[in-house]
C-alpha cells in the first residue's frame, strides 16, 4: 500500500470510447453496404472491401513509418475506407479504389497528424482526387435490375422525371455503391441519432438549406434531395467530427453552407455532382465557424438572476 496512484479528478470514466463510436458508425453504414450489394452486385461489396482493407493498412503502415503510437485499432481508418468505397461506382477498378484509400489516409489524414487533426474529410477529398486524376473511370454504375436498353445516366444528369421517387428512395438508380438507397441511409442516420453519435444539426441544416436553395433555383425539391450523393454526404460525411465545427451555431452555418454550395454546383457548374466539393469547401472554413459564436457561460449576460 505504499505506492498510490494519484491523478486529477474525475476518477471514473464513461463507457464511450473513440473505438466504440467508430463501431457505431460502421454499424450505421451497414444498411448502405447491404443495399449497395443488392443493387450493384457482388462487385460493389468487393470495392468496399478493398477500400476498407487498404485504408486500415495505410493507417497501420503510416503510424509505423512516422514512429507514432498505433491508432489503426481505433477503427477510424476503417470508417474512412468504408465510406470511400460507398462513394465510388461498383465497377471502379480495384487498384484505383485502393489508391483512393491511400490518398485519404496518408495524405489527407496522417500527414496532418492523424485522427482528429485532419482539416478535410479523408473520403470526400480522396473521391475528388480520383475524379480529377482518373477522368476515364466512370463516376457511376447501373444497378443489376436495370435492362441494358434503359438510359444509364444518373438521376442528376438525366434530370427530373427520369426516375420515380420510389426508385430513388429504395435505390434502384445508377450511381455510387452506397449513395443511391435513401432508405438505407436514413436507417443509418436514425441509428446514429439513437446512439447519440451525431446531433441532427448539421444534417438537417444541410438538407433544409439544400431544399430551400433548390426551390429558389426552380428545381424539384424531393428529386434533388434524393438523387446523387446529397443524402449520404449529409448523413455520413458532413457530420464527420474532425472536419465539422463543435459549437451549435458553427454546425448550423456549416450545414447551411454545404446545402447552398451543393445546389449551386448542381445547377450552375459543369460538374456531375457538388456534394464532395461543398463539404470540402466548408471543411476548410470549419475551424473559423466556431469562432463566430462564444457561448455565454451559465449566469453570464442575459438570463441571469433578476
Amino acid at each position: 500500500m505504499d505506492k498510490l496512484n494519484v491523478s486529477s479528478s474525475p476518477h471514473i470514466r464513461g463507457g464511450r470510447s473513440t473505438q466504440n463510436i467508430m463501431l457505431d458508425v460502421l454499424i450505421a453504414l451497414l444498411p448502405c453496404v447491404i443495399a449497395g450489394t443488392v443493387f450493384f452486385g457482388f462487385r460493389a461489396l468487393l470495392v468496399v472491401a478493398v477500400t476498407a482493407a487498404s485504408a486500415v493498412l495505410a493507417e497501420y503502415v503510416s503510424r509505423i513509418v512516422m514512429k507514432r503510437e498505433q491508432t489503426a485499432q481505433d477503427l477510424s481508418a476503417l470508417v474512412s475506407g468504408v465510406i470511400l468505397g460507398l462513394i465510388l461506382p461498383a465497377d471502379c477498378p480495384l487498384i484505383i479504389a485502393a489508391f483512393g484509400s491511400v490518398v485519404a489516409i496518408v495524405v489527407v489524414k496522417q500527414m496532418f497528424g492523424g485522427i482528429g487533426q485532419n482539416f478535410a474529410n479523408p473520403a470526400c477529398t480522396a473521391r475528388i482526387v480520383l475524379l480529377i486524376s482518373f477522368s476515364g473511370v466512370s463516376q457511376f454504375s447501373k444497378t443489376v435490375y436495370m435492362a441494358d436498353a434503359v438510359t444509364s445516366a444518373t438521376p442528376l444528369a438525366a434530370g427530373k422525371g427520369a426516375y420515380s421517387l420510389l426508385d430513388l428512395f429504395i435505390g434502384n438508380t445508377p450511381g455510387c455503391v452506397g449513395e443511391t438507397c435513401a432508405a438505407a441511409i436514413l436507417l443509418g442516420f436514425v441509428y446514429l441519432l439513437a446512439r447519440k453519435v451525431v446531433t441532427p444539426t448539421v444534417t438537417l441544416a444541410y438538407l433544409g438549406s439544400a431544399a430551400v436553395m433548390a426551390l429558389i433555383c426552380g428545381q424539384d425539391v424531393p428529386y434533388q434531395l434524393l438523387s446523387g450523393g446529397l443524402l449520404f454526404g449529409a448523413v455520413f460525411m458532413a457530420t464527420d467530427y474532425a472536419t465539422s465545427p463543435v459549437t451549435f451555431v458553427g454546425k448550423l452555418i456549416f450545414g447551411i453552407g454545404c446545402g447552398i454550395i451543393t445546389i449551386l454546383i448542381r445547377v450552375y457548374a459543369s460538374l456531375p455532382e457538388g456534394v464532395s466539393y461543398a463539404i470540402l469547401l466548408m471543411n476548410i472554413i470549419s475551424p473559423r465557424l466556431d469562432d463566430i459564436y462564444y457561448a455565454r457561460p451559465l449566469g453570464a449576460g442575459k438570463g441571469a438572476a433578476k
Binding site: P10, G14, T71, K306
Partner: protein
C-alpha cells in the same frame, strides 16, 4: 408572511453525466470507528483564514475543547475530538498539496468531556450565528465553507433556503444515512433556520434515487403538525450528476440562475447541505461541536463497505485498516467525480470529508490519453455551458484573451467533460491549468 410558492417539478437543466450510482452502502447502519493511537487536527479545515493553535505540546485537552481559533470572520474554530495530551504542533501536507499546521494529540481513551460543552442559548439571528460559529461548523458537503458566513443573511436578501440532499456523487451515501438516522435533527434544523433567519420557503432537493429518504422527508414537510404554515417542501430531483452542485441545484429548485462569478445569495438563495443542517440542530440541542463525521467507505479494495462515524483527525490509514482494505492502489478523499486522490495515508479525516474510497486493479488505473476527435461531447455535457475543447486549446497556447472570452473561471470542475470524453482526455485537469494561467496573468 404571504403563502410560499413552490415548484411542482424541478426546472430543467443542461448537460451533466450519466454516472453510475454505486450506492452500495445506503442500506447499512453507521458504525463507529475506534480511536487510533494519534489524532491529527489541521488548523485549517475550511475555506478562509487558518486558525492559530491555542494549546501547546504537553497540554491535556478534553473532548470538545477549542484547540485552534482566530478572530477572522471567514473561519471556523477547531475542536479536539478526543481527550488526551498534545504531543506536538507540526506542519503537515494537506491532500491538495498545501502545507498546514496541525495539532497532534495522543488520546488517553477516557473521552472526558470538556466543561464547555453545554447547549447554547439561541433565540434570534445573532445568537444563532454566534452559536454556529462556535460549533466549528463548515459546509459538510465537501467544500468546507464556514456555515456562519453563509447563514449571515437577512430576509430581504434571501427568500429561499435550499437544503442540499441531492448527493449526486457515485458511491457516497452519508447524507442519505443522515436523513434516515437523524431525521429529528433535520426537522428541528429546518424550523430553526426558517424561523430565525426568516426564509419565505425551504426547498429540500433530493435526487429521486433515494425513495426512502424522500418519503421520510415528505412525512415532515407534508405534515400539518410539523409544517403548519406550509413553508417546507421536498423536491424530487432528476438523478443526474452534478445535480448537487450549488449553481445547478439553485437552477433545478428555483429556476433562477446564479450570475457568473457570484454566489447563490445573488439569486436570493442560501444552499445548505442536509448533514450540515442536521449538525446545527444537534449542536443547538447538545452543545457538542463538530468533532466527528459520518463518512462512506467504499470501493473495490474495501472489505467492509459501509458508513462509519469517524472522529475528526483520525488518519486515513486507521480507517482503511478498520474497514479491512487490502492492496489499495488508489485512495480518494471524497467522491470519484470531484474527490482528491491522496498520496499519503497518514492524512487525517477532515470535517468536510464525506467519503474515503479505496480502489485496486482496474478501478485504480489511469486511462491513457488519446487524440481529441473533436466530437463536442465536452461542450454538450458542461452544466456551466462552457466549451472545454476550445478552452483546452487556448490553454495549450497560453492565449489569455481567448481564455477570458471563453469564461474558463466559471468552471466548477465537476468532471462531466472528462467523464464523457471518448478520447479519455484529462480535460478537467487542463481546465484547472487554464484557470491557473488566467489567474497568474492577472497577478502580473
Amino acid at each position: 408572511m404571504e403563502q410560499a410558492v413552490f415548484p411542482k417539478k424541478p426546472y430543467s437543466g443542461r448537460g451533466g453525466a450519466k454516472t453510475p450510482h454505486f450506492k452500495n452502502t445506503c442500506g447499512r447502519e453507521s458504525i463507529s470507528v475506534p480511536l487510533p493511537g494519534m489524532i491529527v487536527l489541521p488548523v485549517q479545515q475550511h475555506i478562509g483564514a487558518p486558525c492559530v493553535p491555542c494549546v501547546k505540546a504537553g497540554d491535556r485537552v478534553l473532548v470538545g475543547q477549542v484547540i485552534a481559533d482566530t478572530t477572522a470572520f471567514v473561519s471556523a474554530p477547531v475542536h479536539s475530538s478526543v481527550s488526551g495530551t498534545v504531543k506536538k504542533i507540526a506542519r503537515i501536507r494537506m491532500p491538495n498539496g498545501s502545507p498546514c499546521d496541525a495539532v497532534f494529540i495522543e488520546p488517553d481513551g477516557l473521552q472526558e468531556l470538556s466543561p464547555d460543552i453545554k447547549p447554547p442559548e439561541v433565540n434570534d439571528r445573532e445568537s444563532l450565528l454566534k452559536a454556529v460559529r462556535a460549533s466549528g461548523c463548515v459546509g459538510l458537503g465537501g467544500a468546507g465553507f464556514p456555515t456562519h458566513v453563509k447563514l449571515n443573511v437577512t430576509p430581504d436578501k434571501a427568500d429561499t433556503l435550499i437544503v442540499n440532499g441531492a448527493e449526486c456523487e457515485p458511491y457516497i451515501t452519508c447524507d442519505h444515512r443522515e436523513i434516515l438516522e437523524n431525521s429529528w435533527n433535520i426537522m428541528s434544523g429546518l424550523y430553526t433556520l426558517q424561523e430565525l433567519l426568516g426564509f419565505r420557503r425551504v426547498i429540500i432537493g433530493v435526487e429521486n434515487n433515494k425513495p426512502d429518504a424522500i418519503e421520510l422527508l415528505e412525512s415532515i414537510a407534508e405534515s400539518e403538525t410539523y409544517d403548519p404554515h406550509d413553508r417546507i417542501k421536498v423536491l424530487k430531483l432528476r438523478t443526474n450528476y452534478p445535480q448537487g452542485a450549488e449553481k445547478v441545484l439553485v437552477r433545478s429548485c428555483t429556476g433562477r440562475t446564479v450570475p457568473a462569478g457570484k454566489l447563490p445569495l445573488d439569486a436570493g438563495c442560501v444552499v445548505i447541505n442536509i448533514t450540515t443542517l442536521s449538525f446545527i440542530a444537534d449542536y443547538l440541542k447538545t452543545g457538542v461541536p463538530l468533532i466527528k463525521k459520518r463518512i462512506t467507505v467504499d470501493g473495490s479494495a474495501v472489505g467492509m463497505r459501509g458508513n462509519y462515524i469517524v472522529p475528526v483527525g483520525v488518519p486515513i490509514t486507521n480507517v482503511l485498516d478498520f474497514c479491512k482494505v487490502k492492496n489499495a492502489e488508489k485512495v480518494l478523499m471524497g467522491g470519484p467525480m470531484m474527490g482528491v486522490a491522496v498520496s499519503d495515508l497518514s492524512t487525517p479525516v477532515l470535517k468536510q470529508n464525506n467519503a474515503i474510497l479505496a480502489f485496486s486493479g482496474k478501478d485504480a488505473e489511469i486511462p491513457p490519453e488519446t487524440a481529441c476527435i473533436n466530437c463536442g461531447r465536452c461542450i454538450t455535457s458542461c452544466p456551466m455551458r462552457l466549451q472545454p475543447v476550445r478552452i483546452q486549446r487556448a490553454a495549450a497556447r497560453k492565449d489569455v484573451a481567448e481564455l477570458e472570452k471563453l469564461g474558463v473561471m466559471n468552471c466548477i470542475e465537476c468532471g462531466c467533460c472528462t467523464y464523457n470524453c471518448p478520447a479519455k482526455r484529462y480535460i478537467t485537469q487542463q481546465m484547472r491549468v487554464a484557470k491557473a494561467i488566467l489567474r497568474e496573468s492577472k497577478q502580473k
